[in-house]
Amino acid sequence: MDTFKLKGLLILAVLVVGILFAAPSFFGSKEVPEGWIGPKEKIKLGLDLQGGMHLVLRVVADKAVESRMNSTVSDLKAQMVKQRVHYSQVSSDSPETLRVALRVPDDYGKLADLIGSGYPYLQEIDRSSKGGTMTVEYRMSAQEAATIRSQAVEQALETVRNRIDQFGVSEPSIIPQGDERIVLQLPGVTDPDRAKALLRNTAILEFKLVDEEHSVQDALRGDVPSGSYVAYMKEGNQPILLKERAVMTGDLLDDARMRIQSTYNEPYVEISFSREGGRIFERVTSENTGKRLAILLDGKVYSAPVIREAISGGSAIIEGRFTDEEASDLAIILRAGSLPAPVEILEERTVGPSLGRDSIYQGFLSMIIGGLVVVAFMLVYYKFSGLIADLALIVNIVLILGALAVLGATLTLPGLAGIVLTIGMAVDANVLVYERIKEELRLGRTAKMAVDAGYKNALSTILDANITTLIAAIVLFQFGTGPIQGFAVTLSIGIVASLFTVLVLCRWIQEWLVNYQKIERISI
């Protein structure tokens, strides 16, 4: 078999593979029919075409450091009382520092022992005495702070994944970016506000006893009893005096489900504790029978019922005049776990389904109109050779679509624009060759010689011209985001595909015409 036939087979193979991979995408949202032997992957549509939500979240990891420091403060206070370290104040001015004021400076030794054994991550940075009080300042070690931060981000990523899974988004993409960011792609989200609320709730569940020995009114006037603080009810915003210490937290949760109360048809969330959690809950409720227990979520009091008897079943309910949606989302959040630190939304790009549909329609409309004009022009201007170029153009588009499907690349609106541009540009290589052939013919060369010289002479120009555009496209891919990368992808694929269609396919057809069909006059 000669090289010419071999080339023909190669071209055929590329064509068949291209068509096989491109074909599934033409079924649109419909299923690929049974019995289709080829690959079934369709081209992935970007969020800007199918509708959906792109979010960049930042985990405020400093808050995780801060809350660790806060718990260190209360823990240290308790330890100092136990070890008879006489302090007047323990405070934390910034997330990473802690200050202890000792009433008895001689207790410093005991304090240093305590810190050394129980809180090795605290490093003493300053010590001063003034009027019988010694103030010692500590700083959290940089290593510890970094660990807390990275753990917070990791756990937040996990929690966000869980929540989105449970929310039911098909094919979400959730990836970390840089130190503190999480990038989410949520196709087909129809209620962006709900999705955002689901992500932003830190969902820290706490149970705290109501301080019934003191009056809220006094506390509001500024006379807050030590160990208590004023919180507010979620409904109605009434103040309520709570003990600072949480008797239990949501860590020990096993499951959370939305239930509907039969008499009033009102939804509520039922939570069940793990075995350990159930035991603690039973102990807490039996020790505090007759008192009120407040249920807090993210610092807001949802309800504060009176404990009538010890609760041993290991479950509790959260009421709060929810809508069905709110209750079911709350259950999701509680099941998925709390966020170790709050998150903020740095970037949001949401495209509604109606705009996505319009964009697809408009994109294809311009592609078809532009394409038809180019096809007609080539036909009129280059006659039969124009027809060959048009064939190459169609093959080109099929190859681009096939390549997108194979690579699993995403087709975005700028990506569609890239294909449109490719249509305009792909004929450029044809034009370069054809103008050459015309020149050669005018010099009196035979058809065979003109075709040979045309392709040979245009080759380096075509490569030079396309490689520079390819450089621009690759840079664009490196630096672009989402939709723009889609443009870079279709542009690059389009360039490579057009090199193949013109330099291999068109050349083969024309060589076949002049060498095997002995065509002596080229219609050009």
């Binding site: 930042r58 939304i345 509604g352 311009s366 532009g370 022009f377 305009g424 015309k438 450089i471």
Partner: protein
């Protein structure tokens, strides 16, 4: 069929002084426009919130404004887009700080409260916080920079110094004038527009390279003494029909994109249209005549 009759030779070099003056004037106008009028950066680069909303009943711009007035956004930019009967608007406000999420919810809430839940179709929300917009700005300019470097290296490797300088000057010329047109038209510079500028860089170079290749080839053929000026003329003339055909087919498809592609892609298509015109002009009237300045370096 031929659009340029074979053998035609146009004396392009004769017009080079005029062309340089025109280009210099255009560049000055562009720079003045950019510095005086400023560029209309989109929220990708300034940070902010942009909401595209369609109503199912007739709504006027003023009504939208008074709906979001109570939440302190009476000064938001509100623009009617599309056909009149679409009742579609673009609401844009700057965002302070890293997250503008509250603004999004406030605007949506205010619109739904005023016009009724089912009459409001939120078609698109773009919210870019300050941190992200800084990143995007940096990445946008870096991409232009690196593409320039990459192309420079490629041309340096493939052509001699004179050609490289000519190609790069033509590129700068094209990008500056395109940006200038955006400043004058007050059109928005967004991420897709940066992508378009990069595509222009690629295409303008494409044209230039085709002409340069022909010049090199003709110099090789001439082998001996030749008049560079008339050689440039004939090289440009020989490639002129290709230049015009390719520019036209590309322009036609981009025009289709501009006319039918919808609002999202409109500025992108506009940038490429401008870039194509300027790029075609510069590869003929700027990139090639510059070679005359380097003729003494050649034997």
């Amino acid at each position: 069929m031929d659009i340029i009759r074979p053998g035609t030779q146009i004396d392009f070099m004769k017009y080079r002084k005029a062309a340089f003056s025109v280009s210099a004037a255009l560049i000055i106008i562009s720079l003045v426009a950019v510095f005086v009028r400023g560029l209309n950066y989109g929220i990708d680069f300034t940070g902010g919130t942009e909401i595209q909303v369609a109503f199912s009943e007739t709504v006027k711009t003023d009504e939208v404004r008074s709906a979001i007035g109570p939440i302190g956004l009476a000064n938001a930019t509100i623009q009617s887009i599309g056909e009149r009967e679409d009742n579609e608007f673009l609401i844009r406000t700057p965002t302070e700080g890293d997250s503008g999420d509250d603004t999004v919810q406030q605007i949506e809430g205010a619109l739904r409260d005023t016009f009724g839940e089912e009459k409001v179709d939120i078609r698109r929300v773009d919210m870019v916080g300050a941190a992200v917009s800084q990143d995007l700005k940096q990445k946008g300019f870096l991409s232009l920079f690196y593409a320039g470097i990459g192309i420079l290296i490629y041309i340096w490797w493939r052509f001699q110094l004179g050609y490289s300088v000519g190609a790069i000057l033509a590129l700068i010329h094209d990008v500056v004038i395109t940006v200038g047109v955006f400043a004058i038209a007050g059109r928005e510079i967004s991420l897709p527009v940066i992508a378009a500028l990069l595509a222009i860089v690629g295409y303008s170079l494409n044209d230039t390279i085709v002409v340069y290749d022909r010049i090199r080839e003709n110099i090789k053929k001439a082998a001996g003494s030749f008049d560079l000026s008339s050689l440039l003329d004939s090289s440009i003339s020989q490639t002129l029909s290709r230049t015009l055909i390719t520019s036209t087919t590309t322009f036609v498809v981009v025009l289709a994109l501009f006319l039918f592609g919808g609002t999202v892609i409109n500025n992108f298509a506009f940038a490429i249209m401008v870039g194509l015109i300027v790029g075609t002009y510069s590869s003929i009237f700027i990139a090639s005549p510059i070679l005359l300045f380097f003729r003494r370096e050649k034997k």
